[in-house]
């Protein structure tokens, strides 16, 4: 069963009317239930312009609060125009749609509309969030999460489960309080710093690499000679092998699943959590 909720339509009239009356920014609110709240649902958010904040709560449905005016201020690329004499500025509704199907909720925004989404979701909701231009923040969610952004930053606070995150130009800061055993994780960026705090007792194989930056940790990392590390050998007729593998590969607390942290032009910090 598919259920579609178009907050852009449902709330736009309300929002425009309210703004016209009060002249103040307002927000669109919508609550959507999962079709099977007993099982952890999946929340997919794809935004072009706009920030996404997801907080895990002890609740069964998902609350979406969209503040398009706030997003316009955060992401504004041009100076706000002065209202001509006798005229007032109206808030343009952000417009976003939510679709629920087989316990999977998809959120998308209209093109050319900046939108600030604040989402309250059940703490075990699986997340697949991506933005082109806008920060992503996740707080107190315990699940599998896949987070991607091009120009934004990624901030994960007090999260559990497993994380696969990539930011092209932004920093990634993650405080992981609980990990799913045997689940691999990856944090990668082209130009950003990676600052990841892991539980002190975490069992993992760390694969750390920064091409132009530095790598720091307060974990006791036992280095493993990786299969292809530091080998330079003659190969039949094809000349000398050139080794460019500069990854640090080591275990913490006896080893476990692979956690990859890779950045081209940033620093890497792997911190021991309290």
């Amino acid at each position: 069963m598919i259920r579609v909720f178009n907050a852009g339509v449902a709330c736009a009239l309300f929002a425009s009317a309210a703004v016209a009356q009060q002249g103040a920014p307002t927000s669109d609110r919508i609550t959507v239930a999962f079709s099977d709240p007993e099982r952890p649902g999946t929340l997919k958010v794809n935004l072009l312009d706009g920030t996404v904040t997801i907080k895990g709560f002890n609740r069964r449905d998902v609350l979406f609060v969209a503040n398009s005016q706030g997003a316009r201020e955060v992401l504004r690329r041009r100076q706000p125009a002065e209202p001509p004499p006798g005229m007032q500025r109206l808030t343009q509704p952000g417009g976003f749609g939510v679709e629920e199907r087989d316990n999977e909720m998809s959120v998308s925004s209209g093109v050319n509309r900046e939108i600030n989404l604040e989402i309250e979701a059940p703490a075990r909701t699986k997340l697949r969030v991506s933005t082109v231009n806008g920060a992503i923040t996740v707080d107190s969610v315990d699940s599998e999460m896949e987070i991607n952004t091009v120009d934004g930053t990624i901030t994960l606070m007090n999260v559990g489960g497993s994380v696969v995150a990539h930011a092209v130009d932004g920093n990634i800061a993650a405080t992981i309080a609980r990990v799913t055993p045997q689940a691999p994780m990856a944090f990668t960026s082209l130009n950003g710093d990676l600052d990841v705090t892991l539980p002190a007792a975490v069992k993992a194989n760390l694969r750390l690499r920064s091409d132009q930056g530095d790598v720091f940790t307060d974990f006791d990392v036992q280095m493993i000679a990786s299969a292809s590390a530091n080998r330079t050998q003659q190969r039949n007729g094809r000349g000398v092998r050139i080794d460019v593998n500069r990854s640090i590969y080591g275990t913490v607390n006896g080893g476990g699943p692979d956690f990859e942290l890779r950045t081209f032009d940033g620093n890497i910090y792997v911190r021991k959590g309290k």
Binding site: N148, V168, R241, V244
Partner: protein, 249 residues
Amino acid sequence: MENDKLSRLLPDEVDRREVEGLDATWRMLGDIETPGPDSDRMRARLDAVLDAIEHAAPPTSPRWFGRRHIEAGRFSPLQGLATAAILLVGIAIGRFVVPNTIGSANSSSEIATMRSEMRELREMVSLSLMQQQSASDRLKGVTWTGQLDRPSGEVIAALLDALMHDPNVNVRLATIDALERFESREDVRRAAIAAVDRQMSPLVQIALIDFLVKTNERQSAPMLRRLAQDPQVNGAVRSRAAWGLQQLG
């Protein structure tokens, strides 16, 4: 004319407009384009399966055993008796001549069978993980291929498929690491060259350039030269390509 036929078939109490409306809806539904299969991926998998069948060991059933006669329905009972007798004599000789080695031979062949079954199972698990929706599962599948003893062509095809098509950057990066053990294969190096142009992610492009330099793949030189001179390409990728060219000499 079709409508006339329709009205003749319809009982009187049925509203004709409603029928026409339904008919129009059906027609519109018929016009909806059926999404085509993901042909690249399907083709890659089909090729891998065909490859595996072609390279599999020939069937072990003994042809000289009169199989053709059995198939043709000309199997003589005498032949069967003779075969059974020879089998019994063989077993008896085996028991009396080498009574002590039978047990160990059996168990070692059982162990070999179990090992090969385990290998197949591991391979199957890796392949199925690589098809999952969750990026974490796909990462696990890619990493697990590193623990496979002698991975089949299907595993390599799945890794190349992930390198080309996986939507997650981190899975594609892990795939390049996993493909390192197959660097001696021509098809893997060719795929790595082709993948550089198709990648949207600069980080994956840089990892691929490193892979090609590491394998000393001189055929990548024209592609690297083009990347190094293309102002549209990300600056870090451009300078990595220039560095790669220098390394390959």
